[in-house]
């Protein structure tokens, strides 16, 4: 009989952070690889390619980081919480309580007038964070389940997942951009540089450049899913109650969204992708399968 290994919540958290670090390293290597290929194909010595390419990539990432919180809120059509309404007052209370549990300043609380159950967190730093919950969530979840959801969102803020997601998307974009330029210059025959170049290396560079954007996107989605598991584990740790979030996820699963709001780019920030129609997940999903998430929570 196989013994069931029960991982402590803390072990889940530690493992996840370690894995994310490894994957980010992989992304960086990919980025350097592409810059290298770029410089090499154009006949530049490698370090010149880095000196030009790296600042460009960093600039790109920096710009996407200044991604304003306001645009996310407008896309979701969110409004500030109204504490005169009892449900919303309780939401405000719970956000304040879990911020204390996490040792964070209290995020601003917003509400999205949508009937499906969902929530998201955003903000460039913990000091400027925002948590938004749908009206549907307030109506359909009990206090325990709501705490589970808020715990999950608070964990995203605590673990700087917004920053991680933005930077990763930036890197993916940079890789795609550089690859595209390189490919175009090959196709239009402008790839001629001075001096001899190894043809085999050139072919490797081309293959690399074609595959790099795909791999970096898959890596980003992998990171996204891992961070969702981390937010689940960390959220359960904050509330000391994995069952609350597990029940909330069950309700979300049963509750199909009838009018998804918000732009597709902010979909990964939600606790469950609002544009998803089915419950299965593939390597192209931003979130892990709901059943797997519930199972892991129940094993804690």
């Amino acid at each position: 009989m196989l013994a069931e290994r029960r991982l402590m919540i803390e072990d889940h958290i530690r493992r996840n952070k370690r894995d994310t670090l490894l994957v980010c390293l992989f992304m960086l290597i990919l980025l350097f690889g592409v810059i290298f290929a770029f410089g090499y194909a154009l006949g530049f010595p490698p370090y010149i390619a880095m000196v030009i390419g790296l600042p460009l990539a960093l600039l790109y990432v920096g710009l996407t980081y200044s991604f304003s919180v306001q645009s996310v809120l407008s896309a979701a059509k969110a409004r500030p919480v109204n504490i005169k309404n009892r449900d919303e007052k309780i939401l405000d209370y719970k956000v304040e309580e879990l911020a204390i549990a996490a040792g964070l300043p209290k995020p601003r609380v917003y509400v999205q007038d949508s009937s499906d159950i969902n929530a998201f967190a955003t903000g460039r730093k913990p000091g400027e964070a925002v948590i938004c919950v749908t009206k549907g969530a307030l109506q359909k979840l009990n206090t325990e389940e709501l705490e589970g959801v808020i715990g999950h969102e608070m964990s995203h803020i605590l673990n700087r997942d917004i920053l991680l997601a933005t930077v990763t998307v930036g890197v993916v974009g940079a890789i795609a951009l550089i690859s595209e330029i390189l490919l175009r210059s090959f196709l239009w025959g402008r790839g001629g540089g001075r001096g001899q170049r190894n043809v085999v290396l050139l072919i490797v560079a081309i293959i690399f450049v074609i595959l790099a954007p795909i791999f970096s996107r898959l890596t980003y989605l992998f990171i996204s899913r891992r961070r969702e598991f981390l937010a689940d584990a960390n959220g359960a740790y904050l509330t000391r109650n994995p069952e609350g979030l597990a029940r909330a996820l069950e309700k979300i699963k049963a509750d199909l969204p009838d009018d998804p709001r918000g732009s597709k780019t902010v979909a990964p920030l939600y606790i469950e992708n609002p544009f998803k129609r089915s419950t299965y997940s593939s390597i192209w999903s931003t979130h892990p399968p709901i059943d797997e998430r519930i199972k892991r929570l129940r094993e804690m």
Binding site: Y93, E96, E97, L98, I100, A102, G103, N142, T143
Partner: protein, 184 residues
């Protein structure tokens, strides 16, 4: 030639970097504990501040329940006088017990239950209790993180050099261990 220089620089960074990293980590975790305690303190004060208003609101309706009100006031005084973290926690638990009795007794007074002010105060007090519970949890989490850092290698070496000792967690008494069924 370049490679040696690079290696020496790297070695230097490691030798300087490691102590700096662990020193900063220990300091940061210790500050987190102080901050966590300050947070508990703030919530305890807030709770103590709400009590006089509660007693005033309730007195008019529950004139005959003198012992219940007295217990609440006594517990509040104990809370104001408490000094050490453990004293504060014990006084807080005493106040929680006294309030539980008060709210249970209030069930027999439908006029009181309809009073807007009373309902607001009840919500606020429950909210403050939850905040204290979470603040206590965060305090203990911070103590755990700190103790882990100064007990594991190589943090323990630096901790000994700095004279850092393990901190104690706050004890939670048996009765308040059961998760309260607070339904809003």
């Amino acid at each position: 030639m370049w490679i040696w220089i690079l290696l020496i620089i790297l070695l230097f960074l490691i030798i300087v970097g490691i102590p700096v990293y662990y020193y900063n980590k220990i300091i940061r975790l210790e500050n987190r504990i102080d901050n966590a305690w300050a947070q508990i303190d703030v919530q305890l004060k807030r709770r103590a501040d709400l009590i006089p208003n509660l007693v005033k609101t309730v007195k008019g309706y529950m004139e005959h329940e003198r012992t219940v009100l007295e217990n609440v006031t006594k517990a509040r005084t104990a809370l104001m006088k408490a000094k050490t973290p453990q004293e504060n926690m014990d006084a807080n638990n005493q106040l929680t017990a006294a309030l539980k009795t008060l709210f249970a007794v209030a069930e027999n007074y439908p006029n009181l239950k309809a009073n807007e002010n009373f309902l607001q105060l009840q919500d606020e007090l429950t909210h403050t209790e939850d905040k204290i519970a979470y603040a206590r949890q965060h305090y203990n989490d911070s103590v755990l993180a700190f103790n882990n850092a100064i007990e594991t290698f190589p943090g323990n070496t630096f901790a000994r050099l700095l004279g850092k000792k393990e901190k104690e967690m706050l004890q939670i008494p048996e009765e308040s261990r059961e998760k309260p069924e607070i339904s809003f």
